[in-house]
C-alpha cells in the first residue's frame, strides 16, 4: 500500500512538474495545442465527405466514426500527456539512458514512462472531448463512461508501446520497429474494425490490438453491453501485466550504457 502511494505521488509530481515547465513557454504551448486540435479536426473531413455518398459503412455512420475518433484521440492524448516517455522506451534502452532510472528508489518502469509529457497531446484530449460531445444528442450524459473508456484506451496504448519498445532489450535498437508498430496501432484504431477482412480482424484483436483502442470502446459508447465492458477491462488489465512482465524480463538482460550523463 505504501508503495502504491509513493508511486501515485511520483506520477502526480512529474505531471505537475512537466506541466509547469510547459507553461514557461506559454505561447508555444498554446500554439501546439490549437495546432493539434485543428490537425485532428481536419482528419474527420474524409469521413464527412464519404458519408455524404454512403448512408452507413458496415453499420457505422458519421456519428459512430466521430465516437471512434473521440475515444482514440482522448486516450492517445492521455497516454502521451501522462506517460509520454512510454513511446520512447526503445530509444532510452538502446542509448543506455535507462541507467538513470535504475539508480533511484522509484519503480523504474513507472518512473521511465511518466518522466516526459507531450504538449500537443493536450490538443488531442480537447479534440477527443469536443468531438465526442458533438457526435450525437445528449452525449454529456455518457461522459463518465467516455472518460473511463478513454483511460482504458490510454492504458492499452501505453502498455503496447512499452511491449514493442522493450524489444530493444533483445534486438538492440528497436526504435524504428517500435515507432512503426505504434503507428500501425493508431492508424488501424481510427477505422471501424468491421471494414477489414476476417483474418486482419483477428490481428486487430490480438497482435496489434487496435480494436480495443477504437472500435470496441466506441461501440460500448453507442450501445453499452456489460459483457463487452468486462472484456475491455480484462484485456486492458492483461496487456498492462504483459507489458510489465516483458519489461522486467528484458531488464534482466540490460547492460549499463556506461554513459556519464547529468539529468536536470
Amino acid at each position: 500500500m505504501g508503495d502504491s502511494i509513493k508511486t501515485a505521488r511520483l506520477v502526480a509530481g512529474y505531471f505537475r512538474h512537466n506541466l509547469m515547465s510547459a507553461m514557461a513557454y506559454r505561447g508555444a504551448f498554446i500554439l501546439q495545442v490549437v495546432g493539434m486540435l485543428l490537425n485532428d479536426l481536419m482528419l474527420l473531413f474524409f469521413w464527412w465527405i464519404l458519408f455524404q455518398r454512403l448512408p452507413t459503412l458496415q453499420g457505422w455512420d458519421l456519428g459512430g466514426v466521430m465516437t471512434i475518433y473521440g475515444v482514440v484521440a482522448f486516450g492517445f492524448g492521455l497516454a502521451h500527456v501522462a506517460c509520454g516517455n512510454a513511446f520512447r522506451v526503445a530509444q532510452v534502452i538502446a542509448s543506455g539512458d535507462l541507467d538513470y532510472y535504475l539508480t533511484l528508489p522509484a519503480d523504474p518502469l513507472v518512473h521511465l514512462i511518466v518522466s516526459r509529457m507531450s504538449l500537443p497531446a493536450w490538443g488531442d484530449i480537447l479534440f477527443g472531448l469536443v468531438v465526442f460531445i458533438l457526435a450525437g444528442p445528449e452525449r454529456w450524459l455518457s461522459l463518465p463512461l467516455f472518460v473511463l473508456l478513454g483511460l482504458l484506451t490510454a492504458l492499452v496504448m501505453t502498455a503496447f508501446a512499452v511491449i514493442v519498445g522493450s524489444l530493444s532489450f533483445w534486438i538492440g535498437n528497436a526504435d524504428a520497429i517500435a515507432l512503426q508498430a505504434v503507428n500501425a496501432l493508431t492508424t488501424f484504431s481510427l477505422y471501424p474494425v468491421d471494414i477489414f477482412p476476417p483474418a486482419v480482424r483477428v490481428l486487430l484483436y490480438t497482435v496489434i490490438p487496435a480494436a480495443f483502442v477504437g472500435s470496441v470502446p466506441a461501440a460500448l459508447l453507442e450501445d453499452l453491453r456489460w459483457q463487452n465492458l468486462v472484456l475491455m477491462i480484462a484485456f486492458t488489465a492483461g496487456i498492462v501485466l504483459v507489458a510489465a512482465g516483458v519489461f522486467y524480463r528484458g531488464l534482466r538482460r540490460y547492460e549499463s550504457g556506461n554513459r556519464v550523463t547529468v539529468r536536470g
Binding site: Q32, N39, L43, F45, F46, R53, L57, I177, N183
Partner: protein
Amino acid sequence: MIRYAAVVTVAIRQQLAYRAEIVMRAVSMVLFMGVFMALWSSAYGVSGQAELAGYSLAEIVWYLAMTETITLSSSRVFVEISEAVKAGDVAYTLTRPLSYPLYQVAYSLGGSLPRFALNLLTASLVVGLGMGRIAGSAAGLAAFLVTAALALVLDALVAVLIGLAAFWIEEVMPAYWIYQKLLFTVGGLFLPLEMFPGWLRGVVRWLPFQFISYVPARAFVAFEPAFVLQSIAGQVAYITLFAAVVALVWHRAQRRMVLHGG
C-alpha cells in the same frame, strides 16, 4: 546550378545510407494501402455501384497509391531549418557560396528522390496484386512522373517557408501539421476532388494543395492531355509564386539575424 546538383547527389547518397528506415517506409506503405483497399472495397460493396464520382474501385485505389507515393516522399526539411534558426547555426551559412533556401530545396529534393522511387514501386506492387490490374496507362505514368516532380519542388518550397517561419514563431510543427492536413483534405490525398461537393470543388481548384496530391494521381488514372497541360501551367505558376515568397521571407529573415563575434 552544378553546385545545387552536387547537393542533390549528396542528399540521395545520405538517404540510401539509412537502409532500415527505407524498409520501414515500405512497411508503412503496405500498411496504408492495405487499409485503403479494405475501406474502399467495403464502401463500393455497400454502395452497390460500380463507380463513385466517376472512379471505379481499382481507379480509386491506384489514385491513392499515387497520392501516398508523393506524400510519403515529401520534404521534412523544415525540421533542420527551424533547428538551425533556433540554435543560431543559420548564421554560418551566410558565408557559403550558395543561397541557403535554394540549398535546402536541392537537399530536400535529393532526400525525396530515393523515397519516391521506393514508394512508387511498393505501392504499385501492393495495389497491383490486390486489385489484379493496373488502372493507368503508359502516357498516364509519364504525366504522373512530370507532375509529381513539379509537385515535389512545390512541396519543398512550402517546407522551406515553414522552416523559415521559425524566425518569427517559437514552434513550427503546428504550421506543418496544418499544411499536411490541408494536403490530406483539400489537396485530395484521401479523396479525389470529384468526390467533394460542388461549392468546395470550386474553391479548392484555385488553391496550391491540389497541385501536390490530386493532380499527379489524377493524371495517372485518367490521362487527358488538356488536363495535364493545364495542371503543369498551374504548378509552374505556384512554384514561381512560392519561390518569390521564399526569397522575400529570406531577405526579411536575414535582417532579423544578429551576429556576435567569436
